[in-house]
Symmetry: C2
Subunit: 202 residues, 2 copies
DNA sequence: AGAAACTGAATCACGATTCATTTTGGGTCG
DNA sequence: CGACCCAAAATGAATCGTGATTCAGTTTCT
């Protein structure tokens, strides 16, 4: 086995554990998930998990960082593809946030439900990936202000936070609503319009 | 001791336990709080808690219901006092939500952090008080639509949810920000204006 | 006195973590 | 090539602390 392959195999097993943890946490939440359940979900022995992660908490944090990074990269890529119009970029950000409920239901459940809980238990640890995501959102507000499209009398940090809250709560609704996939496009339209019209410079 | 006094005393001890639980949960979260910590915070023996609550989960649920009811009553009262203008009522609702961080920091932390976690572990149990609060918010949107002040092409339920998310995320920010009480009035102004302008009928 | 409320030490199930043992897999040598 | 060796990786049964809950005994009420 070459060095590259060996490192690949290692990564794969680590990834299997993260996958298993995501499934398990989504299903029962962090505190109600047994390490042995994660292990069996991942198809490894209990002890193996401790070869890749210091402990259960570390596994949670690692899972966050890994998946948030994925979400952030996806958002950045899609925003780059969409051009310069702040309105259009904003709309796309909203749509992608909601789309997570369809594309990655487990991840969606994990993020919406466990983020705060962990924000708490990580009181000292400053969840940096979450802050990156917030920065992306308030960056949109800031850009809109610079372009003169958005009103200048609001703080981007505050609004970014409010927007994140709104998006995440709707994502939670989508994630848990048993009702057949409500129309993501229409929900995107409504939420986008409210914020864009509210933010627009007069 | 009269019947009224006895019931009062009982209520008091129950209330002491709820208070202790609130403090403890706010400090360390539900899963990291020991029943014995709640007991000592409340000044009762461990076993006494089980005379008033079936188990730790039941204590959590009871605490939710009790405190959310208080929050809802407070909001209803204040909205009644404020008159018919939807804009003014909306502004007041936002302000009261944020004000919780100042008035009741423990409760604020408890609600912002534990609500989702519990929404999860109460998957079957339909947190009715939380739904009442949502209903109050989408009721504002609906009223605005009926009065022709707000646009009719959005679903109140969706917007109520988005608004709750925005408010709660900002409340979280206020609750955890060590920075000296940021200006609640100014934050209220900004968030209120965005939503009202976004919702306004054209 | 009798009931109700309360107490807190003891129980007991649970589950994260450890570690002695086994398996794997590539490198070396005859 | 096959036998052998070693280190790294993996295993999973046993350990061990923890903490929710119980309940026999005590205190407080009426």
């Amino acid at each position: 086995m070459s060095q590259a392959d060996k490192s690949r195999a290692t990564t794969d097993k680590r990834e299997r554990i993260l996958d298993g943890a995501l499934k398990a946490f989504a299903r029962k939440g962090f505190y109600n998930t047994k390490v042995s359940e994660i292990a069996s979900e991942a198809g490894v022995a209990d002890g193996t998990i401790y070869l890749y992660f210091k402990n259960k908490d570390d596994l949670l944090i690692s899972l966050f960082e890994d998946r948030m990074e994925w979400v952030i990269d996806r958002l950045k890529t899609e925003l780059d593809a969409v051009g310069d119009s702040v309105e259009e970029r904003f709309r796309r950000a909203v749509e992608l946030h909601f789309q997570l409920a369809i594309d990655e239901p487990d991840l969606s459940e994990f993020i919406t439900v466990e983020l705060r809980q962990s924000a708490k238990f990580m009181k000292e640890y400053k969840n940096p990936k979450f802050l990156d995501y917030l920065r992306l959102l308030d960056g949109l507000v800031e850009d809109g202000q610079k372009q003169g499209v958005f009103r200048a009398d609001v703080e981007p940090r505050l609004l970014g936070r409010a927007i994140f809250g709104a998006l995440d709560e709707v994502l939670l609704l989508l994630t848990f609503s048993r009702s057949p996939n409500r129309d993501v496009a229409e929900m995107t339209r409504q939420v986008t319009e409210i914020f864009i019209d509210g933010l627009r410079a007069r």
